[in-house]
Symmetry: C2
Subunit: 403 residues, 2 copies
């Protein structure tokens, strides 16, 4: 590969936005048009939207991760496994733990950090569902608490799991826990009624902003399966012992998992870019304001829904669509065109899984419940795998029922 | 069942000695001869000699345990699931956590307690391989340490496992760990060379007293598979951080498992019986000195090997043989005979497993290595299951290779 006189495109992050940008550039660009480099901490990509299943222990994390060399052609894209330390925007340079890279064009797709809203102790004592490393630790932590119970004074708090936040991740996670806990009880000789799973939400309802009928379906389904909900209940403090609620009530729990929100990666603010909660309010063509050669994708990009006059929640769906736009816009720039495509998210539907065979969702104006919604969720997941690597990838990593 | 005028036989403990005594009495006695009651903490019996495999995670604990109602006929033997709190020998009464029982004849088969030889911190900070509850905690603890590693500063001590004591249990346990660790490394993305398994022994050699050639075979085999040995090295202190050796060296380790020795159950001393390290030097017919109606079996009984002029090590093999003698002697006593059978252990062989397909052993004067010894180990295990419950039990719980 001749690297001379070709522009260097550098993609930071191998999540939905980053890996898909790499895939699109691999397709859009000829090898003589640019050098494309992807930097990622791990040699694998993972499906963030499946991590709650790995954390609960209902799906093995190897199903969720995909080796990067299974997705991109290492002859066409340079892959650097390293961790980004700093973006030096004025020098067009990126410092990694083990080397430095320069760029002509940059795609920032560094994902999210947990947003703890200043709640004391949350950062230190709560787990978060954010990476393969973090979710297998959650899975093993819960297993270990259950394993200790009969050996360690049968302390109730060992069997209490608090999930902070009842947004999509929180609800999907407690749905998986409802499936997993009976298995754990069998494994460790524990009566199911000793286990508490408490989902705590500061807003007046779970899944704030979602269709009321669907929310009610979800609550009924989950309560029937042993989940307790506390809404309108901010967490004041988190400690090794559990949580202190704003009401003054204390709940002792050995496991606290925070799903209450995310913000953009701190590296963006650190670099001196302007952000709102770590996210960049990008231009219509997904470029960083004031930086014509920098694109931002995924959890780091803030996109306003003009109709609703509020930001779109950052989702895998939007990140993937952004990568298509970024791919085409980079190709245009390299070819000297100045008219770039405007990004317009196309919300195809939203489905929240509640566990095995159970889900709620909305596709257009149509509401989906139970098995139908669950099937739709699998269709969405498999569709993404198809975009990543065609039919072979769907066969390899898809959630398929083989008849 | 008519309980009037029939003597009450009470068996305390459902380990090898206790459960086998119950099985033998069920066979030896007619239902009009005595009421037999078995007390055990759990509703299952387990194979203590397999626990190290459950602790390492190479065998699931459900293979090791057998439900008591699968072994004894609940119509012939009363089973009480409860924990013994105190033996009131002068009142022929036993206090359980939830009730009290009286007896005419007592079989004490309460198993062992760990012997820590006064080493500071060992009781608080080291695990021991002693029950289903304890070994599944060890398994999950090790899993959890590995799961934390990549998430928690890659601290070496998370991957260091110290096994105190290189007797049979210690050696068999590190043999299983050598098999298990590569699996754990794959599961948690950890390079094998980061993991240390250190077997520490105060005596000048591992397996003290065992055939030298076999010991050398074991050491070579285990060292080749990544086990480090420190012999002649007493542990001075154990803490949350790891161990302090008598040499002054400190080894940081998140996991310390103590296999350095056992003593008889403390309840026997507490009752006021005379013991040596918690064990009763029983009469030739296995009765408690001075108590014609009390038998002692298993880890609680001290039997002298007259030829070697030292106690036999307490093994499953001897406990099972004792149960046969106790069964016949109780039958004789109930039938008014005063001449009781003398217990004579018949040591059929000793085999130590070193992991999958690897073992060392001695049967008579014949030394066994590798696959042969490993096959012999399985024969011994299956033989016990046959004694417990015939062919169906062997099929259900045996270590069978089905061709």
């Amino acid at each position: 590969m001749n690297t001379l006189n070709k522009p260097n495109i550098l993609i930071l992050g191998g999540g939905y936005g980053g890996i898909m940008s790499a895939v699109r550039l691999q397709k859009e660009l000829g090898s003589d048009e640019a050098n494309v480099t992807l930097v990622n901490k791990h040699n694998y990509h993972y499906q963030t939207t499946w991590l709650h299943e790995n954390a609960a222990g209902t799906l093995h994390h190897d199903k969720t991760r995909i080796m990067i060399d299974d997705i991109i052609d290492m002859n066409k894209i340079n892959f650097v496994q390293d961790t980004v330390v700093e973006i030096k925007k004025d020098e067009k340079r990126v410092i990694l733990e083990n080397q430095e890279l320069t760029y002509d064009y940059l795609v920032i797709a560094l994902g999210a950090d947990p947003e703890t809203f200043g709640i004391q102790g949350l950062k230190e004592h709560a787990f978060s569902i954010r990476s393969i490393n973090s979710v297998r630790q959650i899975r093993e932590h819960i297993d270990y608490c259950f394993a200790r119970y009969n050996n360690d004074g049968k302390r109730d708090e060992l069997l209490t799991i608090i999930v902070g936040g009842a947004g999509f991740t929180g609800i999907e996670f407690v749905g998986e826990l409802a499936d997993r806990v009976p298995e754990l009880c069998r494994e460790y000789d524990i009566p199911r009624e000793k286990v508490r799973i408490v989902n705590i939400e500061a807003a007046p309802t779970v899944l704030p902003g979602f269709d009321e009928e669907l929310v009610e379906y979800a609550i009924n389904n989950l309560e029937r399966r042993g989940i307790e909900f506390l809404v309108n209940t901010p967490i004041k403090e988190c400690s090794e012992e559990g949580v202190l609620l704003a009401t003054g009530e204390e709940i002792k729990a050995s496991t606290v998992v925070w799903t209450g929100g995310v913000r953009g990666n701190h590296l963006i603010e650190n670099a001196g870019f302007e952000t709102m909660r770590g996210r960049v309010k990008v231009e219509k063509d997904l470029r960083m304001p004031g930086f014509d050669y920098i694109f931002v994708a995924g959890d780091c990009a803030l996109i306003i829904d003009e109709e609703a006059n509020r930001p779109y929640p950052p989702t895998a769906q939007i990140a993937i669509q952004q990568a298509y736009t970024i791919g085409r816009n980079l190709k245009a720039l390299i070819n000297g065109k100045n008219e770039l495509e405007t990004f317009k998210p196309e919300i195809k539907g939203t489905v929240a899984s509640l566990g095995k065979g159970e889900a709620i969702g909305k596709v257009g104006n149509k509401k989906l419940f139970g098995a139908t919604a669950s099937a739709m969720k699998k269709v969405i997941d498999n569709r993404y795998l198809y975009l990543l690597g065609g039919i072979p990838m769907v066969v390899k990593k898809g959630k398929l029922k083989l008849f």
